[in-house]
């Protein structure tokens, strides 16, 4: 227990600078996901009865490929931010918390790359 006041302890250390960054990006990706998720559901409904070849051709069209890539990036970015908060709130063993945070970061990044490569294959190779 220090006798220093909280103000004296933080003075000179500077601000963290990114206090609202997480909150803001979570909202930004959420706003992007409203139209993108609706588009995604609408697209899947249209493909429900389609065969593999039709699904390939549809997803490979430039319009769909771009929106699908945007949806994948926004989705996993938003998921990472959300899961991060859930882990921060409920996992109290420090080693497990850090391990899960690293795993979620890597897994979501990898998922974005898998999505982009798949969409790229559909868009560029037919």
């Amino acid at each position: 227990m220090s006798l220093k006041t909280p103000l004296a302890r933080v003075r000179g250390l500077g601000s963290a600078k990114d206090g609202t960054h997480h909150w803001w990006v979570q909202r930004l990706t959420a706003i992007a996901l409203i139209p993108l998720a609706l588009y995604f559901v609408w697209l899947l409904l249209g493909l429900a009865a389609a065969d593999h070849g039709t699904v390939r051709l549809t997803l490979g069209q430039p319009f769909n490929a771009v929106l699908m890539a945007a949806f994948s990036i926004a989705l996993f970015w938003h998921a990472q931010l959300g899961l991060q908060v859930v882990i921060e709130d409920y996992i109290h063993a420090r080693w497990l918390e850090v391990t899960l945070q690293v795993l979620v970061r890597f897994a979501t990044l990898l998922a974005i790359l898998v999505a982009l490569v798949a969409i790229g294959r559909l868009a560029f190779t037919g």
Binding site: I31, V41, L45, A111
Partner: protein
């Protein structure tokens, strides 16, 4: 100082008996649960994308799995989670803007989200029935 522990009911056991559920906390909890479900389900979606780009073997597994009864149930569960999370997410953004924060609009919007989730999931199930089989 007394060394005996006071016999007070603790958090999880208080739910329902000593602690009344509120719509606001239930909808908040559901937002997290559906968020986790969708976040994990997103990895299934990306695997499906990978299957679509592939030669068709993995895609065939997906097609059969999604056409099966458990697959259909999972698909509708994801749809319900997505619709709820999307609607309640809009509710959260309205709160962020400073509106609907009083008890009455908070409850009204909560019920609206729940009722709309049921209606829209049912509509989606009807719309998707033509194809999934």
């Amino acid at each position: 100082m007394s060394t005996t522990k006071p016999q007070r009911p603790l958090s999880p056991f208080m739910l329902g008996t000593h602690y009344r559920f509120q719509l606001t906390s239930v909808t908040s909890f559901l937002h997290r649960v559906t968020g986790i479900v969708l976040g994990l389900g997103a990895f299934g979606f990306v695997l499906w994308l990978h299957a679509v780009a592939g030669d068709g073997v993995l895609y065939g597994y997906f097609r059969d799995a999604l056409a099966s009864t458990p697959g259909c149930i999972a698909l509708y569960a994801f749809a319900a989670a997505l619709i709820y999370h999307l609607l309640n997410g809009i509710r959260h953004m309205v709160w962020d803007a400073g509106w609907w924060l009083e008890l009455k609009p908070a409850y009204r919007s909560g019920w609206t989200v729940l009722v709309l989730t049921v209606i829209l999931t049912a509509l989606l199930a009807v719309a998707g029935r033509g194809g999934v089989a």
